[in-house]
């Protein structure tokens, strides 16, 4: 077969973004046992063991049965971790195997590449969140009081943790770097952010110290969406999460725009 002559075609501005998003979703679905099934099972085990099994022996928290109280925090934790780990691993792998070059040399702007990667992690998080909610709400009887606030909290959570994953994936020198951030930073901060307890029950100074934990506001924002009440005002929790999201997205965008750490 003879090759065809070159052509000049103006690329459609959105197609590159759409295809990168699709590629990221393709990867998530291809690895569904690892990317979706495993985090759903581990979160469900937390709900079953800590909530359903031990719930009867624990008094109500903020007027909710314990198994209901912990559901929003566990869903928030699963979604945040999956957005982070998805994006950190996909970026690091693309850098490490250098197939990221196919993206960087394509006619796509920095924000399109950024958004494409965010979308992959977001899709994975939304699937996990939806499956967990579909299983946990009927199982525990947890309500869904403020769907709009919940939608906003979820959007900010998956965007912020997706951007954090991108940043770590760009800076990481090895696979260990990513799991280090997840295991040593994100997981402890989420646990200490009141997933399993109400921070308001902690005495001084632990309650005040807990308010310095940014992940506390993520948990509280999602909890407000489900239960309609939380330890802090939804405006404060959503506002803090929005500021964190803005800062992380700006940082990730800076890395894509300048090529810092992505290009030698």
């Amino acid at each position: 077969m003879n090759p065809l002559p070159p052509v000049d075609v103006e690329p459609h501005p959105w197609r590159g973004l759409a295809w990168l998003t699709r590629r990221e979703c393709h990867r998530v679905l291809k690895l569904w046992k690892q990317t979706i099934l495993a985090p759903v099972i581990s979160s469900l085990l937390f709900i079953l063991v800590f909530g359903v099994s031990l719930g009867d022996s624990i008094a109500e928290v903020n007027g909710f049965a314990y198994e209901i109280f912990i559901v929003p925090g566990l869903i928030a934790m699963a979604m945040a971790q999956s957005a982070y780990s998805n994006n950190s691993s996909t970026i690091f792998q693309a850098r490490n195997d250098r197939y990221l070059d196919d993206i960087l040399s394509a006619p796509m702007s920095a924000w399109q590449v950024h958004l494409g990667y965010i979308a992959g992690g977001a899709m994975r998080s939304l699937i996990i969140g939806a499956v967990l909610a579909a299983l946990a709400l009927p199982l525990t009887g947890a309500p869904l009081e403020q769907p709009l606030a919940l939608a906003l909290a979820v959007l900010l959570t998956i965007t912020s943790f997706g951007a954090l994953g991108i940043i770590v994936g760009i800076y990481a020198q090895s696979w260990d770097n990513q799991s280090f951030i997840n295991n040593i930073v994100i997981l402890p901060l989420i646990f200490l952010g009141g997933v399993f307890y109400s921070v308001s029950r902690l005495g001084s100074p632990w309650e005040q110290i807990s308010h310095l934990n940014p992940l506390f506001y993520v948990v509280e924002a999602v909890r407000y969406g489900f239960l309609g009440s939380a330890d802090v005002s939804p405006l404060l929790s959503l506002g803090v999460v929005a500021v964190i999201t803005f800062a992380l997205v700006a940082w990730a965008q800076f890395l894509f725009s300048t090529g810092h750490r992505l290009k030698p």
């Binding site: 077969m1 003879n2 090759p3 065809l4 002559p5 070159p6 052509v7 000049d8 075609v9 103006e10 690329p11 459609h12 501005p13 197609r15 590159g16 759409a18 295809w19 990168l20 699709r22 590629r23 393709h26 990867r27 291809k30 690895l31 792998q93 693309a94 195997d97 250098r98 197939y99 070059d101 196919d102 993206i103 960087l104 040399s105 394509a106 006619p107 796509m108 702007s109 300048t258 090529g259 290009k263 030698p264």
Partner: protein, 285 residues
């Protein structure tokens, strides 16, 4: 060292349209390595241009700069008149890198399909083109096989197919035949030649001097981040008063420190036991 045919990559004659224009290109890496220093190069549209040089001469850095894969320390690049790194410039370039950098989660077909998408094609156009390239590069039997499961030769075919999928005006081939068998090498040569005949500008880097001599209209020799000579293969040989391109290569990139006999001796030593083909070993510098 003898006087080279042309000591700059810039051409002085003719008003032929320029495919790639590089002025004052400098790249210093974070560790302080100066890979390219005030490099100038113009490649006419429609030419088949060879870039030769030893490892570390700056070939891959130069290609990375053109393809938006490295950050420039200084200088300007334009591709068919469009600023380097712009969307329009990127659309006109197809690159097959030296190392097979294929997405491990995609099959052969998907690799091509998604590449077309990244370059702005719609699904039906990208799909049709992917099937064409699968046939053109004899990848039909491996269409649904993931990249990591392909042999080295098949990966090389896929890299080239991917580079050409969006029908770029400037195709950059970084050592496209490194590590492939003789049969595939000649097959790729045939395809690249016919691509050139269709009007595509080709920039080829290679360690195989006979490959550059057989394919390229013009050859530039790069050493230490500078273009040290540039002309047709015949022009270079005449300018240096030598019989082979190897001798030109040794006199320029080795700074005249190595004679052909010494160079070949060194190559034979590097290549191992008797019978090794010094050129095929890619150690001609």
């Amino acid at each position: 060292m003898d006087q080279p045919a042309t000591t700059t990559g810039l051409r002085t004659a003719g008003a032929a349209p320029v495919a790639l224009s590089i002025h004052g290109l400098t790249k210093r890496y974070a560790d302080g390595t100066l890979a390219l220093e005030d490099l100038n190069l113009e490649i006419p549209a429609g030419s088949f241009f060879g870039l030769l040089g030893p490892n570390g001469a700056g070939k891959t850095t130069l290609i990375g700069a053109v393809c938006n894969l490295i950050r420039l320390s200084g200088g300007e690049i334009s591709v068919f008149g469009q600023p380097g790194g712009s969307m329009a410039a990127r659309r006109m370039i197809g690159i097959a890198e030296q190392e097979p950098n294929l997405d491990k989660f995609l099959t052969v077909y998907e690799t091509l399909l998604y590449h077309g998408g990244y370059y702005g094609m719609d699904r039906s156009e990208a799909s049709e083109r992917a099937e064409q390239m699968i046939d053109a590069f004899d990848l039909r039997a491996k269409r649904d096989v993931e990249a990591p499961k392909l042999s080295g030769g098949m990966r090389r075919r896929l890299l080239l197919a991917r580079a050409l999928l969006h029908r770029p005006r400037l195709v950059i081939l970084d050592e496209p035949t490194a590590g492939v068998d003789l049969e595939l090498r000649h097959e790729l040569w045939r395809y690249i030649r016919s691509l050139h005949e269709q009007g595509t500008t080709i920039l080829l880097t290679t360690h195989y001097l006979e490959e550059a001599e057989a394919l390229c209209d013009e050859i530039a020799l790069i050493s230490g981040g500078h273009i040290v000579a540039r002309d047709s293969a015949e022009g270079l040989k005449q300018s240096f008063g030598v019989d082979t391109l190897e001798e030109v290569y040794l006199r320029t990139v080795a700074g005249g420190r190595i004679t052909l006999a010494e160079g070949l001796e060194e190559i034979a030593g590097d290549a191992g036991p008797a019978g090794a083909d010094p050129v095929d070993d890619g150690q001609a510098g």
